[in-house]
């Protein structure tokens, strides 16, 4: 095969697919007219391509429709498509998560405490009702103390005043007559009398004030009692919230309380 033939042989498939420039095509046509082996080769290639291109498509054995349920991948299908290792890993994670959330839900407690909602997992710290601070008031001692202080103060004031008055009288004693002296004595006794009255009024007032403070103390104590009762109430309510089991406990507690109350009444 001549060198030119080898070159033209490369042209042949390109010529058949129309991939030659005009010059190349012209040169090939010229060569094919002169060279019968190359011409035969050209025909063979043409034959081959005609056979390739003549293929009629066979009909489809069935339709290849796509249905929505196939197209949508469910999580379960995605799981099935995973490799064994991934399936195991996913299952473990899901199990642990599910168990943890079950635990959390079963031990979750919600309650209101001092007007705010408190959410806790597991056992909440016991809420202790504040220890009742009962004020021990010894009212009679207080009263005596107050009266004593008041009396002391009045007596001292009184004595002071009288001492001043008597000193004044001693100084002016020489200048006044007998009648004047009698009048002064009278005035002093009047003053003494009024002072006595004043002291007794003060004592009375003090007594009343003491009464009031004692009453206040009692009121305070009773207020504390009421708060304690409310705390106990809250606790009972909480027990009721915490479920059936606890409600029976509450019933038992109530029954005991009632029995105690009845015993007291007798």
């Amino acid at each position: 095969m001549a060198a030119t033939c080898r070159e033209f042989r490369n042209y042949i498939p390109r010529a058949i697919l129309g991939d030659l420039s005009q010059e190349e095509q012209k040169a090939l046509d010229q060569h094919l007219a002169e060279c019968s082996p190359c011409n035969r080769e050209h025909q063979t290639f043409g034959n081959t391509v005609r056979q390739l291109g003549s293929g009629l498509d066979v009909p489809v054995p069935r339709h290849f429709f796509v249905y929505p349920e196939e197209s949508h991948s469910t999580p379960w299908r995605a799981f099935l498509r995973m490799s064994r290792a991934w399936q195991a890993a996913t299952a473990t994670v899901l199990l642990v998560f599910g168990f943890a959330s079950l635990l959390a839900v079963s031990r979750l407690q919600v309650r209101s405490e001092d007007g705010a909602l408190v959410i806790g997992f597991g056992r909440l710290p016991e809420r202790r009702p504040p220890a009742p601070q009962i004020m021990q008031v010894d009212s009679s001692a207080l009263e005596a103390k107050i009266l004593k202080a008041a009396a002391e103060r009045s007596r001292q004031d009184n004595l002071e005043f009288l001492r001043t008055l008597r000193a004044e009288m001693a100084r002016s004693n020489k200048a006044i007559g007998r009648e004047q002296r009698a009048l002064l004595e009278q005035a002093i006794s009047n003053v003494e009398l009024r002072m006595g009255q004043l002291v007794s009024t003060t004592a009375y007032d003090l007594e009343r004030k003491t009464d009031r403070s004692v009453q206040d103390a009692y009121r305070k104590v009773s207020l504390e009692r009421a708060r304690d009762m409310a705390a106990v109430d809250n606790r009972i309510k909480l027990l009721a919230i915490n479920g059936e089991v606890k409600s029976t406990q509450t019933d038992a507690i109530l029954a005991t309380l009632l029995q105690v109350a009845e015993l007291r009444m007798q």
């Binding site: 498939p13 056979q51 003549s54 498509d57 066979v58 489809v60 197209s71």
Partner: protein
Amino acid sequence: MLLDQGLRGSLSPDRDMESDWVAASQRGDNRAFNQLVLKWEKPIYNLTLRMLHDPGEAEDTTQEVFLAAFRNIRRFRKDSRFSTWLYRIAVNHCLSRLRRRPQGVHLSLDADRPEERIASRLPLQESHEGEILSEERQSRVRAALQFLQPDHKAVLELKFFQDLTFEEIAAVIEAPVSTIKSRLYAGLEVMRYRLGAFESDI
């Protein structure tokens, strides 16, 4: 007629409808997508049949191709043709199946037997006079195709059976036109030795 000019989506009103179907499919309408299936199932099935040379595998692969196309239709961009995109999916499915096959299966001595199965499954109205001769020739062509490397076979399939231009094939295969041409001529050389001896009986 050198190349089959069958249903190829070359008519413009047809293409308009196709773009409507594509748009509807992208909104999740599987009935619109099935219109596309109806239009393209024959070329795609025949492509997989010639690429894989096994009717059962071709059937499975065709279904896989359409399912993959429907699942990924949102990713299809309108700047290329739907057919180019679909051919790419089909060719990639076939190539990955061929790669998974044990080496040398496509050269097996039983290569012709699947063809007999196809012939027996052909509907009667298709087997009118002349078709039997043609069927024999096609069987020969399909057998010869199995001697090609998968990459070369894909290019020959798109060029001679799907009637695509070099540029379109380059878009499907995602390779430069020069690569496509060199694969085509290499493949054609093999086919010339397998088929050139037979006289064309068209």
